[in-house]
Amino acid sequence: MLRKKYFIALFTALLMAAIAVQTVFAISPDYLKSGRTYDQESSYIQWNGSVSYVSLYHRDNTSLPASEGGANCNNGCTETVTRIRSGSSVSGNFTFLQTFNVQVAYTGDSSVGTAIIRACGTVIATVNLYTPGSGAPGFNNFPSPAWSVPTSGDCTWSITASGGYVDFRAVTTSYRASPPPTVDIQINNTQGPLSQTAPGGYTLNWTSANASTCTASGNWSGAKTGSGSQAYSNVTAGTYTYTLTCTNPSGSASDSVTAYVFSPPSVDVKANNSDGPLSFFEPSAYTVTWSSSNASSCQAEGNLTGSIGLNGSQTFNNILQGTYNYTVRCFNPVGAQVVDTVQIRVNPLPPTVDLRVEGGNGPITRVSPASYTLSWTSQYATSCSASSSDGGWTGSVVLSGNRAFASIPVGTHTYTVTCTNISGTASDSVTIYVVAPLSGTITVTYARLLLFAPNLGQPAQTLSGTVTGGEPPYSITVHVRTPSGVEISLSRSGPTWSATPQNSGDINFGTTEQGIWTAWSDLTDSTGRGYRTSSVTWEVAWHPVHGRP
């Protein structure tokens, strides 16, 4: 039997210690209610120093709570009470109290000390709890009668053990008589609901009357003062409900406001799946599509007409030159709007131009002074201009026309007509090669030569010549006439030529007969133009010796 009591006592001690440790770490002092310390220790009573629960047998006029049987303790009870060691204390807050006192135990244990009871900054009782010769401890209320709380506002209270321990069983409170509380909460000074577009921003204001405590719930939380305000900003999309509940001993009251924060609408308009701007050549065809999100309605603007939905498309065909703006404006439920536009420019086809000379694309060749006519035609152009390599033709010209040129000197003449419109530029060029008239020379190396000069170690004849003008390549026929009238011909080519003993096949070229030799050349260019040079002569002599009289 003793062993069983020992285990029970040990278990109880361990339980008390565990609860004591838990309580020490979990205490959150709050407004005090009437009741046993053991029942409300963790919420309303703060332990300071060496404080613990003890299972105490006492005999007095108290009663166990109903949960523990509700027995009267006149004949003794054992229950858990709070033991405050010497020098330690318990404390807490209360508000709206009418009266206040605590239960501490007298005892014959000489280790007991004096309880110093404070409230609202005042020592309301100092009780020496040692009663020599008394039996079991007995709890009494101190002060008695209960101390009248001078204020309905917040106060702190405490019990300090001095000179020994103090067993503390309960507080006894009575609240002031009051009507039930009222509370009013507003959002942006309205009862709500409030609708906004994210990011939202608003202010909650609340007031209360007769409230001892106010607690926030919903999308906010925590204890609140009887009146106040709280601002919110950068609120994302969603529905937010703010509830404030205020209580007093007579009851409670709640009020709520709601804020609807909507995402901003968006819309994307595309043409042929592009945000644009786009450019097309007329006649053009394309499809305009739009899609929106977070929108409750959309409307067409600009070149997009008619009733449109939140998403859709329209196809356009045979669109002529112009600039077209297709706009969709969308709204969310709170009226926030967004606009997107795609722009399409429909341009005419790029210009074309065809420049010709003498009806052809050239190039052509003419002999100076040359004459020719240029003609040109263009399409889709809005303006045309001319230029030439010789600077003789510049400036604006008509879109289609012709121009005659005369007395053009030798050179390469390139003419260009450039036509433009909004879609681009086109150019065409022709080239005319104006060449000098075909001409040439023939020269003789030796004006006088010896008969069969190579046999005397002297040179034979060498003819040379040049060809200018006309159009290369040139072909040359060299004619050589002997003194006896025999004519020989040699063929040559190129702008310069020569007829030598080596390349003519006659080492005695031009020296085989005494007398006057004659030579000339016939020149022909690639187009068949011909030219005969002037003739050259040379004399071949023997220089005989004769006796003089």
């Binding site: 030796y446 004006a447 006088r448 030569l449 010896l450 000069a453 005397l456 170690g457 002297q458 040179p459 004399e539 002599a541 220089h543 005989p544 010796v545 004769h546 006796g547 003089r548 009289p549």
Partner: protein, 179 residues
């Protein structure tokens, strides 16, 4: 060098009578004829020597003019001229060859060249008048030319017996190049 001719020898006889006189006259007549014949022979020899010398001079002049033609100058300028050294050398070679053939020595030779295309004038050439060729004085040509003045000694057959001193003949010949 002198020309070598064979000499005639003669002899005299004594006439004591009329027959003898006739014989003397006959001898004298023969002597006269011999003298006359010798004189004629010497005159012929002189004539022949001069013709020969002239021929030699003319051949020498032609050879000098021919061999002295400057062909390169023709190619360069179109005109002919003579190279003096070549012309002189060519003439000398002809004269020397002929004199050696005849065994003639003691002759004198004066060769002059007018090399330029327009010829020219050499004053005092030839130094003595000659019957063949231009006379004494200023030798002029209008073309490149070679002049040969040749003096050759002539030995008498008979005339030198009569105190007529030795004779030499001088000839002058020239040749030109046609432009």
């Amino acid at each position: 060098m002198t020309l070598s001719y064979s000499k005639f020898s003669d002899s005299n006889g004594m006439i004591r009578e009329r027959r003898a006189q006739s014989a003397v006259w006959g001898l004298l007549t023969i002597l006269v004829f011999i003298i006359i014949a010798a004189g004629l022979v010497d005159i012929y020899r002189l004539y022949a020597a001069r013709n020969w010398a002239y021929t030699v001079a003319q051949e020498a002049a032609l050879a000098g003019a021919s061999r002295g033609r400057d062909w390169a100058y023709v190619s360069a300028t179109g005109n002919i001229r003579l190279t003096s050294a070549l012309a002189t050398s060519g003439a000398q070679q002809v004269v020397s060859a002929e004199m050696n053939t005849r065994g003639v020595s003691g002759y004198t030779l004066d060769i002059q060249v007018l090399p330029e295309p327009a010829g020219g004038t050499i004053t005092g050439y030839p130094p003595r008048p000659v019957r063949l060729g231009n006379g004494r004085g200023d030798w002029s040509t209008n073309e490149p030319a070679v002049g040969v003045y040749l003096t050759v000694p002539v030995d008498w057959l008979l005339l030198d017996r009569f105190g007529i001193a030795g004779k030499s003949i001088s000839v002058f010949a020239s040749a030109g190049v046609v432009q």
